[in-house]
């Protein structure tokens, strides 16, 4: 098997797009994501209108189905884990942040996998997800299915990582 060694190394972790909300919004979409990278990193910093935490669903290419998620969380008094057929990360009413790795998002020979880390004033969380589709991800929609909105000032950024 051939290993490609890059000489010189290739600068990557390239900022692709940042969306900063000027007013509250019910969803955010990154459209026309370039297919020239291997992985994507989504960084979210901000909050939601709910009184506590909210599960923000991720729809690759607008698809709200075909998802699987396992997650764990700890809040200082208990720790737990569970699964879901929805792919989501968690934001809180106060300022919180999430970082989601989309692995091999541009590949067409495998399902898409995600590694999720959430940090908020209420708890700390991690998750792993699979979107059961071999279609390359060209758009990402983030929405709260319960109807809460993202606060004005919430920042969403995506970065591309080459391989």
């Amino acid at each position: 098997m051939t290993q490609t060694v890059y000489d010189p190394p290739v600068a990557t972790y390239i900022p692709l797009q940042t969306i900063t909300l000027g007013s509250s919004a019910s969803s955010v979409t990154f459209a026309s994501i370039p297919q020239t990278y291997r992985d994507l990193v989504l960084v979210v910093s901000g909050g939601v209108s709910a009184p506590s935490t909210v599960s923000v669903e991720i729809y690759p290419n607008g698809d709200s189905s075909n998802g699987s998620l396992v997650w764990m969380q700890g809040n200082g008094s208990s720790a737990s884990s569970s699964t879901s057929s929805r792919i989501f990360f968690v934001l809180a009413a106060n300022n919180s942040s999430s970082i989601i790795q989309f692995m091999d998002y541009s590949a067409t020979d495998k399902h898409k996998t995600m590694l999720i880390r959430d940090n908020n004033p209420d708890d700390v969380r991690g998750g792993a997800a699979r979107w059961a589709s071999t279609t390359a991800i060209s758009s990402l929609t983030l929405t709260d299915a319960s109807g809460q909105t993202f606060d004005a000032g919430t920042v969403f950024s995506i970065y591309g990582i080459a391989s």
Binding site: T4, R38, M72
Partner: protein
């Protein structure tokens, strides 16, 4: 009293260290089954310019199961020179695990032969201060394999030697091999100028 970063012992930078501080160094995408992947000549090639290494991988192996662990070795050392801790979720079960004096670090999970077709696991591994000869080497991993048995793993690893890291080997547990389509990429995080 106003606090300054200097008083807190931190360095301050008037400008970013570099715009290209995270670099792609090497990639291997399998076209057939393969027992191990080796990134070598690490300190000699990258030690002068990079502080930390990161491996990003999507993988599936040949084990007759839906998921499996995979291993990491440093400098091809096979003696009991490693230790690791894991915090992991499997479905609704949350557990932790630790082992010392092992012959490899259990670095994460991968999907296996009985997982749904086209389902791969994903892992990000950081190898910190890889060129140091004054401290032992630590790794950290964030790994998931979402198949019939869903696994999410946070793990830390120790290579109990102050030797610089010349090579990193990723291999299947119990002689399992990685299958075609598995991808392993090595990145470097640059040192401060």
């Amino acid at each position: 009293m106003a606090f300054s970063l200097a008083l807190l012992g931190a360095s301050t930078y008037e400008a970013p260290v570099a715009l290209d501080s995270y670099d792609l160094l090497a990639t291997e995408i399998l076209t057939g089954t393969q027992a191990s992947i080796v990134f070598d000549n690490l300190t000699s090639t990258y030690g002068a310019d990079y502080q930390h290494l990161q491996i990003r991988m999507t993988s599936r192996d040949t084990k007759s199961d839906t998921t499996a662990n995979f291993l990491l070795r440093i400098n091809e050392v096979t003696t009991n020179s490693y230790a690791h801790h894991r915090l992991y979720a499997s479905l609704s079960s949350l557990n932790s695990y630790a082992s010392t004096s092992t012959s490899a670090i259990i670095a994460g999970v991968t999907t296996s032969a009985n997982a749904p077709s086209s389902a791969f696991g994903s892992t990000v591994i950081d190898v910190l201060d890889f060129a140091s000869t004054s401290k032992t080497t630590t790794t950290r991993s964030f790994s998931g394999a979402v198949a019939a048995n869903n696994y999410l793993v946070f793990s830390s690893g120790l290579y109990n030697s102050t030797d610089a890291v010349a090579s990193v080997t990723i291999l299947g547990e119990s002689s399992n091999s990685f299958v075609a389509g598995s991808r392993f990429s090595l990145y470097g995080i640059r040192k401060a100028a």
